[in-house]
Amino acid sequence: MRTGAVARGASGLLGRLFGSAEQAVDDVLDRLLGESFDERLARVPMALGPAGVDPFGLDPHWAKYALMTVAMLHRKYFRTAVHGIHHVPQGRVLLVANHSGQVPLDGALIAAAMFMDAEPPRIVRAMVEKWAVTLPFVSLLFTRVGQVVGVPENATRLLAQGEALLVFPEGARGISKTFDRRYKLTEFGLGFMRLAIETGTPVVPVAVVGAEEQYISVANVEAVAKVLRMPAFPLIPQLLLPGGQLPLPTKYRLWFGEPMHFTGDPDDDDAVIDEKVWLVKQTIQSMLNRGLKERKHIFW
């Protein structure tokens, strides 16, 4: 009897705590966005089913908390400067970006920019490593905020659904770059170009400046990565310092380029596709170079 009352009291208290936490989240979001989150979310084109989730498992209720977190990072922690986001066309689009920073915060910040700064707001879908899907909580979180497993069938389906798809053609090679190779694009995969041609999707090149300095990796120990079945095993000395587990608060700069259109045969030879990929890669590299030149300081 008494335990029941205690349990009810506790659950009531918890409920009130969560309720006020949710209120706090709403307040923070509204302040960051300058408009109500729900109003903004309502303007996002989404393919929600009657159960309130889209076929890939995106749930706007989860997206709210994820977006709040990345919005804080975007506006307060990394103080991202966004350039040229008006270039992103409506409807299906492939955002192709350089990948860097050991931890995929670049993806999160591009997503934040697309939700907070683009008009109409968009929820960016990204393709994640199959490895991430096997991790508890990570896989759940990724699914609920709209990330999908990186297989071509999913990409085609998302584009047919009219989504904005974020692609890092460098993949794990790019994100686990050591510090000495920062802002040098590694080899691009060809899949995104075949996809763009096949589905007639415009490609928007995106350059991310500021991510390379957040975690400074001095080496990538592939032998350990293999044993742990991880895509990479970077050595990051700052992790040993107190508070060094947080990324360094560099200032991020996102540059969105003009949309590029490609035509041809999606099943063409690698050499032919590679030429088109090279165009995108060069565009991103020159955007990166320009961004680096204009940058006066890493941290502000």
């Binding site: 089913g49 989730v53 749930d59 699914t143 609920r144 497993v149 297989v151 069938e153």
Partner: protein, 332 residues
């Protein structure tokens, strides 16, 4: 047994076959595994329009008067008598053994040897229609699965779960039969998790109190009501329909949503613990769930059912709530 199978002496068999291709009704349907819950449901729907002959080694006690039943093991020669006696216009194969407790040899012999025998008679007696009920489980839940698997996706179900290999083999046998005997319209249906009064793994799983889930995983899932599966089989029996069809019910939802619809408690267990506990329980015969089935509550195994909607003309009649709540219907 033979006298209970009415012969149709007035209709010459070649003629009937020719007309059966253009008309939806008429002709005898042979249903294997008719004494299962799905089989009984199918019989109840089919016998209003067509003559139904059941084949099952179990007795069919409460059958309708116009349904004939041959209590034979499909591996036995007696099966041939059933084909000889009636003018079989279509065969629906539901008699696949899913019992995870049966020995591997029995499982294999029943599923593969039995089905091979059935295919032999379908070919010999030139049955114009064969419908095989396979399952979307033949694709298998994998971390690397695309969100929606098309009919062309490889059948990897046996990769981590060896007990399902003969079900994959049955599907493959039906596929090769499709190519080898073009005169027979072969239809392979691959429905997603069937829910209802049936005693299959997904229904039994949702009947658990509380429903265990793997901590940190909540995959999207597709379910289908048993009545909708029966409906799909009836559609597949129409002349002109052939090929492989993924069959899905209402729109996909997260697994946790299914549990919430049932109003059940959920208990989240870390994967490593769940695997150890389930293995132990399995070896002590405390559970009917083989340990590899844990992957079904970790990874997606969903299908693209566009072909069924467009070619078969199938659309689920039951809503998500009706489908999920059906697992508690008719419980003792």
């Amino acid at each position: 047994m033979t006298e209970s199978v009415p012969l149709q002496p007035t209709q010459a068999s070649p003629r009937t076959r020719a007309t059966a291709v253009t008309t939806a009704t008429g002709g005898t349907v042979l249903v294997t595994g008719i004494c299962g819950r799905l089989g009984k449901r199918l019989a109840r729907v089919l016998h209003r329009e067509r003559h139904v002959v059941g084949v099952d080694r179990r007795p069919f006690a409460d059958r309708a008067k116009d349904i004939d039943h041959a209590q034979v093991d499909i591996r036995r020669k007696k099966l041939k008598d059933v084909f000889r006696a009636g003018d079989i216009e279509a065969v629906v194969h539901l008699g696949v053994m899913h019992d995870p407790r049966a020995s591997a040899a029995e499982h294999h012999s029943w599923n593969v040897a039995g089905f091979t025998k059935l295919l032999e008679y379908v070919a010999q007696f030139q049955v114009p229609k064969l419908v095989v009920l396979s399952s979307a489980n033949v694709y298998g839940p994998q971390a690397s699965n695309p969100q929606f698997l098309t009919e062309e996706a490889p059948l990897l179900g046996g990769q981590n779960f060896s007990d399902i290999r003969d079900l994959v083999e049955v599907d493959m046998l039906a596929q090769s039969f499709f190519w080898k005997l073009p005169e027979t319209e072969t239809v392979i249906l691959r429905p997603v998790h069937i829910l209802g009064t049936v005693h299959n793994a997904p229904s039994n799983f949702l009947r658990l109190h509380p429903v265990p889930t793997v901590m940190g995983f909540d995959p999207m899932a597709q379910v289908i009501h048993e009545a909708d599966v029966v409906h799909a089989i009836a559609l597949a029996l129409r002349p002109g329909i052939r090929g492989i069809f993924n069959v899905a019910g209402p729109e996909p939802v997260p697994l946790s949503r299914l549990i919430r619809i049932l109003g059940r408690q959920k208990i989240s267990v870390p994967y490593s613990l769940a695997r150890v506990v389930l293995r132990r329980m399995w070896s002590l015969r405390l559970t009917t769930f083989p340990p590899p089935e844990l992957d079904h509550i970790r990874y997606v195994c969903m299908v693209d059912d566009r072909r069924a909607r467009q070619v078969l003309g199938f659309s689920p009649q039951k809503s998500l709530e009706e489908t999920v709540l059906a697992v508690d219907e008719g419980r003792w």
